[in-house]
Amino acid sequence: MKVGVITFPGSLDDGDAARAVALAGGDAVRLWHADADLRGVDAVVLPGGFSYGDYLRCGAIARFAPVMEPLVDAAKGGLPVLGICNGFQVLCESHLLPGALIRNDHRKFVCRDQGLRIESASTVWTSAYDVGQEIVAPLKNGEGGYVADDATLDALEAEGRVVARYLGDNPNGSYRAIAGVANDRGNVVGLMPHPEHAVEDLTGPSTDGLGFFTSVLKGLVGV
């Protein structure tokens, strides 16, 4: 199964995402922001980082990269897409996911091992987890505060599209402690924490993050 990992200028965790895909048993295919097509991949990961420096708004400029055109179409057609951190921000800016991510309420960059509760196992990226399962993964962001209007938030909750929530004290001021959300079909998921940094005991706080990558691969085999 081929999982594409897009590199924008300023992407940082693209290598980690590719490593995670490989550890989960998939083939990582590197995609470039200027690519005109997705080179036939079966799923795509938008990695963390500071695309184009994120000086304007996180993800605001990356959203207009050439590769985003085929990606947005494919995503609307059901292609599994996972946006991690900066990737989540890009997905929101592209309106593939509702809401937006703003400056952490404490106004500092935060890097810590974060407890999470999986709230939905019915997305293609979380099928390997159980609802209510608690996991630990690194969280590292300066603009990770998830915001949306109440109507949107209520809809997300009602439709089971809140994918993960922060445990313990809210690390960035996200509304309703939301750490990740999905689109209505459950093929597009955005996540602030970094599962790709929780795939090896040696380098991560846990290996809890692998599930996101095994989930999609399992789903793809099913296809």
Partner: protein
Amino acid sequence: MARVVVDVMLKPEILDPQGKAVHQALPRLGYDGIAAVRQGKRFELEVEGEVTEERLAQIRGAAETLLSNPVIEDFTVRVEEA
């Protein structure tokens, strides 16, 4: 060369951590009587040639798609008299 200014502010209902921080810091520095502070962005665009209506419309387009995120922000566009 004319200058067009685009101001982008978070929508009132979105919490503004930076504005809040400034607001809390003011009294500590002895500045009182400020009821609220919001922090936003100011863009100064230097436009070649003069600013036609159509040019302004273009810039509004850029303000809406690039300079601001309509989900959380409002913007205003105005020509700045030198």
